[in-house]
């Protein structure tokens, strides 16, 4: 019974995506009435260099912002974890969580105000900065559980055996929390890829990302090459998930062993 329920839920969740993928091959040109199979929309997509630039921009922003956010987030998590006083630790953690739950629209608007006051020109740099900023709390949240899972005696043992602070960090702590780091990175990546609300406020001067572009296209009815594009992006994220799965399989901590 529960299995049927699960299958049903997944069908409902995936149906719109498959519907969209299906119509990306429609020669009819609309989202209703399938007329015949065609690859024209994909061809058109690859000839539209403006759209291609936007896709690549979106990917560069996603990769770079999640990379920086991961690096900063790791240190953030280490910092919060090392807090001795319980109260400070909880306060910091709550502040981190507030950033995750606060509405994107408000974050976006405040970035816009901040960049305006600081005189930062809107464009790639402003988008990158804001994506890094909203990804950091996510990374922190993904890394922290791994840190608290780690036994403190592990660090004590390493110190007793003569490891320096740097050695403890690079040879003991980081390898242990690697799965959390990857999880944080991939979460940040998906957040950045589909963020509309924040990006909408901080794009400008010829730099846009996909979500913003599709939104302004939607006003006049979406052409099927947007379907084609969405299909490709869906496949791309699917590949990412698979890659992530294999990485996390390989990184499964086996007992107490510490890996290089």
């Amino acid at each position: 019974m529960s299995r049927i329920f699960l299958v049903l839920i997944f069908l409902i969740l995936y149906a719109p995506i498959f519907f969209l993928v299906f119509y990306s091959f429609n020669s009819g040109g609309t989202m209703y009435g399938f007329k015949g199979f065609t690859l024209d929309w994909y061809k058109e997509l690859f000839q539209d260099s403006r759209l291609l630039i936007i896709v690549l921009n979106t990917l560069v922003i996603a990769l770079l912002s999640s990379l920086f956010a991961t690096i900063i987030g790791i240190f953030g998590a280490l910092g919060i974890h090392s807090m001795k006083k319980r109260q400070t630790k909880n306060t910091l953690l709550s502040l981190n969580n507030v950033l995750i739950v606060s509405p994107d629209v408000i974050i976006g608007a405040s970035f816009l105000i901040l960049f305006t006051m600081a005189g930062v020109k809107l464009g790639m740099f402003s988008v990158l900065l804001s994506h890094i900023a909203f990804s950091i709390p996510i990374v922190v949240l993904m890394v922290l559980p791994k840190l608290s899972e780690m036994s403190p005696t592990l660090i004590d043992a390493a110190r007793d055996l003569g490891a320096s602070r740097w050695n403890v960090l690079t040879k003991v702590v980081l390898p242990y929390i690697t799965p959390g780091i990857f999880a944080g990175f991939f979460m940040a990546l998906t957040y950045s890829l589909d963020d509309f609300a924040v990006t909408f406020f901080v794009t400008g001067n010829g730099f846009t990302t996909l979500s913003v572009e599709i939104y302004s296209l939607a006003r006049r009815g979406i052409s099927l090459n947007v379907n084609a594009l969405s299909t490709l992006l869906f496949l791309f994220t699917l590949v990412l998930v698979v890659v992530y799965y294999f990485i996390s399989q390989r990184n499964k901590p086996n007992g107490w062993g510490v890996k290089k």
């Binding site: 609309t30 209703y32 403006r50 960049f115 390898p175 010829g206 939607a218 006003r219």
Partner: protein, 357 residues
């Protein structure tokens, strides 16, 4: 640790490759040169071939960006972090931008093609003497209906909508000005009327329409009409032409009592970096042949009088989208009513929305 470092290096490498591809693509498109023109327009609202042609003829590269609402555009321009050379807002927004000093006055000596614009569409209240703006496209507010679903019935006036036979069939736009305007027009008042007694009367008239209303909706009316889930809708003519190209059964009517006339105009925001190119582009778009080509692509009505002679007869003679001068006389552009009156419009519209059958 080593694994992490490798992974991060790989990400940096991939980003670098992607970044390089982007800049190569930008270069091959010529986007990096100094002589560029940044245009901020509605999505899919220009024939892309015309942009290519403009680039070729003038050696100016065009960066094209899109917005989806006047308000979004205003935010970006107000904020000042952008460098748009041309924007294409609607009339009420032009009035607002002009008052907030966001626009640069146009140099009419650099726009020799301006005389091709139909006199009917010049010197309108939102921008007298066309000091800041030049018409790009225009249209009306009217009724899309499906004669097949209505048993061949024709709709020509606002008052036809009050027919008791149309119970639960009409979709209205969720806009106070549009709906109140319809009420005012149906009893012979101007849609810019601010007389409270007249407005009350219009609202009471609208209340009697309630049994015929199926819903008060936003953009989704387009799909409902296309898929024949509703048979009558109050829409803008631009939306109408799109829906009608998807569903051939539909008809569009500009009510004979009069209606709203809207405009999207080209303006130069104060953030413009390349005013010379902006004037060149506006003049280019005013060229009759270019305007005709653009109008055929976008499917909206062009204000360019000479352009009509380059367009197919059946488009130009289509009174649904190029109404006769007798009817255009009756069409009115929305005037800025001021905060107080607008609030009163909104209040009445809200009361109307809450009115029960």
């Amino acid at each position: 640790m080593r694994k992490l470092v490798h992974f991060f290096l790989a990400i940096i490498l991939v980003s670098a490759v992607l970044f390089y591809t982007v800049s190569e693509l930008n270069n091959s498109e010529g986007y990096s040169g100094r002589n560029t023109l940044t245009i901020y327009n509605w999505g899919d609202y220009i024939d892309p071939q015309l942009i290519k042609r403009f680039e070729k003829e003038n050696g100016i590269k065009v960066i094209y960006e899109t917005f989806d609402s006047n308000e979004a555009m205003l935010t970006k321009i107000e904020q000042g972090g952008t460098t748009y050379d041309i924007a294409i807002p609607s009339e009420y927004m032009i009035d607002k931008m002009r008052k907030e000093h966001l626009l640069i006055p146009l140099d009419h000596s650099k726009l020799p093609n301006l005389h091709y614009i139909d006199k009917r569409f010049m010197d309108l209240p939102f921008d007298e003497d066309n000091k800041y703006s030049v018409p790009y496209f225009w249209g009306t507010v009217g009724i899309v209906y499906n004669p097949k679903m209505l048993g061949g019935k024709k709709i020509t006036s606002w008052n036809d909508l009050w027919d008791p036979g149309l119970r639960n069939k009409i979709l209205l736009i969720d806009g106070a000005r549009e709906v109140m305007g319809m009420g005012l027009n149906s009893i012979g008042y101007s849609l810019n009327d601010t007389n409270h007694a007249h407005l009350q009367k219009a609202k009471r008239k609208l209340d009697t329409l309630t049994p015929n209303i199926k819903g008060i909706v936003g953009d989704e009316s387009r799909l409902l009409l296309e898929n024949e889930e509703a048979s009558i809708g109050l829409v803008w003519s631009g939306v109408a032409s799109e829906i009608m190209s998807e569903n051939k059964n539909l008809e569009y009517a500009v009510p004979k009592e009069g209606s709203n006339l809207w405009f999207d105009n080209m303006v130069i925001p104060k953030t413009a970096k390349n005013k010379k190119a902006a004037h060149k582009f506006i003049n280019f778009m005013l060229d009759p042949k270019i305007a005709a080509k653009n109008a055929e692509y976008v499917n909206y009505s062009t204000p360019n009088k000479k352009a009509l002679s380059y367009m197919p007869k059946e488009t130009v003679n289509d009174e649904r989208f190029y109404p006769s001068p007798q009817l255009t006389e009756k069409l009115e552009v929305y005037q800025n009513l001021g905060k107080k009156n607008l609030a009163y419009y909104n209040e009445l519209f809200l009361e109307f929305k809450m009115h029960r059958k």
